[in-house]
């Protein structure tokens, strides 16, 4: 069911992006949230492939375009850190959210 196994190229992208302290950060390519690894961070780009009702709910929950989320746990479903709350999302949703993976070092002080 999970897409992450069938696409071997993308999941490695976030870790490649961990540049040295002064080195240029190689921007990872956008991917779906379901392809991100636990422990990584990503910025939400779009919720277009979720159902519209679900997208509306997610936005109210603070998971809207431009939000940075951390992936706490990932399997058939995901646990995310969204604005300090823990949100569990089914795989149909995580596969419908496009994100820009963030370099692991850029942990901002988040409440």
């Amino acid at each position: 069911m999970s897409l992450s196994v069938s696409l071997p190229v993308l999941p490695t992208a976030p870790s490649v992006a961990t540049g040295g302290p002064d080195g240029l950060l190689e921007a990872a390519r956008p991917c779906t949230l379901s392809q991100c690894r636990p422990g990584s961070r990503a910025t939400v780009l779009g919720l277009d492939d979720c159902g519209s009702d679900e997208a509306c709910r997610l936005r109210a929950l603070g998971l809207c375009e431009g939000t940075a989320v951390s992936i706490v746990d990932s399997r058939h479903a995901m646990v995310l850190d969204v604005r300090g709350t823990r949100l569990a999302l089914g795989s149909a949703l995580t596969a419908g959210i496009t994100v820009q993976p963030l370099p692991a070092a850029a942990r901002s002080a988040r409440g």
């Binding site: 997208a55 509306c56 936005r59 109210a60 809207c64 569990a88 149909a92």
Partner: protein, 723 residues
């Protein structure tokens, strides 16, 4: 801030009295789920509504009353939690109706208290910002200040008041801190001008929205509320029914969407972008967070609880321990109660003269009601354990773990929470399905919640297991009795999943909705909450035993005693009693029923007990108690279990109750729906009227068929295997 301003040595006013003509202040508690609305409601009103550490505990509106320190009488409404005003599940609709003044009974709040979780302020401010724009006085109750502090979050309250433009009162509702200040703030808030939006939209956006706002204003909304509604309508894609009631609104909405698209703004994200944009600034001003190093305790616990392998193992182990404890911990208490009832029964029996009255008291009431009451310890322990699961935060984790299985079924993980509540009682379980947005999914869940073994089945299970399953210990310290009980619960649960899968593929066909579930931080279960829950449920059980079950016991005793038949006095007393019983009304009914239950291996006594228990499951136990009380020559009240073991078939002399018969009976009780309250609540929650009744009939029918079929299968296969 209001708390500081409170005079410390204010002379306490003589008993607060409200001026006779002063109107009651109407206050509605709203907020995100699990922020502590009900905790606050209980602290304010002194009531004891259910509290738990997961989203969706409250699914009804509940009214309570209290007086503020100045003596003003307040009518307070506790509402289901909601993440936004665009909510779509039935429980959220209830909160919405009240907020928007659309409640059917016309209840409109004078002041809205938005209960916000201080530890997750950013997310909570989304709903708060919407409510502020409704144009009704608002007070923000900043709850769980203790939890926020523990997380290293400090909130500058004056700054927050300035940013939001409404009173903000910090609280620790759990300890009752800040309650009085909240009351005062509400009294002040109603005198202030109505709050309105705190951020501005780009001029081009305002212009695009103008036609919508105009139509909404013409329909009676204030400017602020009209703008809120315009933003909200653009964010949702489906059409709400009331949109059609405002002339030209739908057209204006489509037009606005196009205009926004032309200036490069996606209409559905306009609201979240603007609100969260503004909220980000507010949080930056008012909230400081100490950087936490390493993972939080909650995340570390989740590392184990949600672990791929350990998680499910832990879940099953937890259940096994629960059912083990039902036998081991409860046994001494149960023995004590059993002894007490037996002594009392014997004492009363000795005082009363020989005759029908004595038989009524000893056989009808003591053997019947007493037989049920002895299970009070088991019920209490079950509720204690469920309470711990609910208040610790485990419920949401169980739902998460079950998501994968639930998806195969055709539902999502959240549907598992009502099913888990069903372990306590199907009625709140069915009510809890209100958190499910999709009607098909909700109905499928309602249909299977009664398959989850509820506490009313516990007396039947424990009586039969305690009597017929040896108390041998297996490796790892598990007892065979506890495991058998666990088996019954698993059987019910698996059946529930299977049946739901069938419903989702036939009558209630529909796509699988994806799960969206908040995992609350773990908390130590509050002793007070647990105490209240266990006490309430225990009292309910005792009251039920004293009313419904008592009444049924008396009726059944009368049926087992009359009409008197002539018996052969030369026979021994036991045989006389047996003949008498068979000649009674109950005996005759039993003979009618017997052919129906013969294939399951039961005699007429079990048959009538089953028939009687369609009124309430526990009546099985009380009826058996009465039948065996009336049908014996014993002077003493004897434990029912011992009597069952001793019962022989008069013709063959073989024991009536073999382990196989007991097992079949339990399986019957796993599946059969024997609870009028469940049927009543199914009728209501499935839509009421004819529709509700037909769903309730389907539920009752399939469960009965399942029960009969499974019990027959157990008996037949067991016999074939030589048991």
């Amino acid at each position: 801030m209001s708390e500081v301003a409170a005079p410390v040595v204010e002379p306490t006013p003589p008993t607060p009295r409200a001026p006779a003509n002063e109107a009651v202040l109407r206050l509605a508690l709203v907020g995100n789920p699990n922020t502590g609305k009900t905790t606050l409601f209980n602290a304010l009103t002194g009531l004891r509504q259910r509290v738990g550490n997961f989203a969706g505990v409250t699914v009804e509106r509940v009214e309570g009353f209290f007086r503020t320190t100045s003596g003003r009488r307040v009518s307070c409404l506790d509402l289901p939690g909601s993440y936004s005003l665009s909510a779509s599940s039935p429980d959220e609709q209830i909160a919405l109706e009240v907020l928007l003044g659309r409640a059917r009974d016309g209840w409109r709040p004078d002041v809205i208290v938005v209960v916000a979780d201080a530890a997750h302020l950013e997310r909570n401010l989304f709903l708060a910002s919407q409510v502020i724009e409704l144009g009704v006085p608002v007070v923000i109750a900043l709850n769980q200040m203790d939890a926020a502090e523990a997380k290293g979050i400090s909130i500058d309250v004056p700054e927050l008041i300035d940013a939001l433009g409404v009173p903000v009162v910090p609280l620790v509702a759990k300890r009752g801190q800040g309650i009085d200040a909240l009351g005062r703030a509400c009294e002040i808030a109603v005198t202030l001008p109505a709050p309105s939006r705190r951020f501005t939209l780009a001029p081009a956006v305002t212009e695009a929205l103008a036609p919508m706002v105009e139509r909404l204003e013409a329909n009676g909304l204030t400017t602020s509320a009209a703008e809120l509604e315009a933003l909200r309508l653009l964010s949702i894609q489906h059409l709400e029914p009331h949109v059609a009631e405002v002339p030209g609104l739908d057209e204006a909405r489509r037009h606005a969407a196009v205009t926004l698209g032309q200036i490069g703004i996606a209409p559905q994200r306009l609201e979240s972008d603007s609100r969260y944009g503004w909220i980000g600034e507010v949080v930056a001003r008012a909230v400081t967070t100490k950087e936490q190093y390493g993972r939080s305790l909650s995340d570390r616990i989740d590392g184990v609880v949600l672990h791929r392998v350990l998680g499910p193992v832990l879940f099953i182990a937890l259940m096994a321990i629960v059912f083990q404890s039902v036998f081991t911990w409860a046994a001494p208490m149960q023995d004590a109660i059993e002894g007490l009832i037996a002594t009392l029964g014997t004492l009363v029996g000795a005082v009363l003269p020989e005759g029908d009255l004595r038989s009524l008291v000893v056989d009808g009431i003591f053997a019947g009601v007493g037989g049920v009451l002895v299970f009070l310890p088991q019920i209490s322990i079950l509720f204690l354990v469920i309470g711990i699961l609910e208040d610790s935060g485990y419920m949401a984790r169980a739902a998460f773990l079950m998501d994968r299985v639930m998806r195969r079924v055709g539902l999502h993980g959240r549907s598992f929470i009502p099913m888990l509540s069903g372990y306590a009682c199907a009625v709140p379980g069915i009510m809890a399905t209100r958190v499910i947005e999709n009607r098909q999914d909700r109905l499928a869940t309602i249909m299977v919640v009664p398959l989850m073994s509820c506490s009313a089945r516990l007396p039947v299970y424990t009586l039969l297991i305690g009597t017929f399953v040896p108390a041998s210990t297996l490796p790892l310290g598990f007892g065979l009795q506890g495991l058998t009980l666990l088996g019954m619960y698993l059987l019910g649960t698996l059946a529930a999943l299977g049946v739901a899968a069938i419903f989702k593929r036939t009558l209630l066909k529909g796509p699988v909705r994806p799960m969206i579930l908040e995992l609350p931080a773990y908390r130590w279960p509050s002793v007070r909450t647990l105490g209240v829950t266990v006490w309430q449920r225990a009292m309910l059980f005792v009251r039920r035993a004293g009313t419904v079950i008592m009444a049924l016991s008396i009726v059944l005793w009368a049926m087992a005693t009359y009409p008197r038949t002539s018996v052969d006095p030369s026979e021994p007393e036991v045989v006389q009693a047996e003949q008498q019983l068979e000649g009674s009304a109950l005996g005759q009914v039993g003979k009618l029923i017997e052919p129906l239950v013969r294939p399951l291996g039961y005699d007429w006594k079990i048959g009538v007990s089953i028939a009687a228990s369609f009124a309430a499951r526990e009546v099985f136990v009380s009826t058996m108690g009465t039948i065996y009380g009336v049908g014996s020559d014993e002077e003493n009240v004897q434990a029912l279990g011992d009597r069952l073991r001793a019962e022989r078939n008069p013709e063959t002399g073989e024991p009536v109750y073999t382990t196989l018969v007991a097992l079949g009976l339990m399986v019957f009780y796993v599946f059969a729906l024997m609870c009028m309250s469940t049927t009543a609540i199914t009728v209501r929650e499935a839509g009421g009227g004819k529709l509700g009744w037909s769903w309730a009939a389907i539920q009752f029918g399939y469960m009965l068929a399942l029960a009969y079929g499974a019990a027959w299968l157990v008996y037949t296969v067991g016999r074939a295997l030589g048991y």
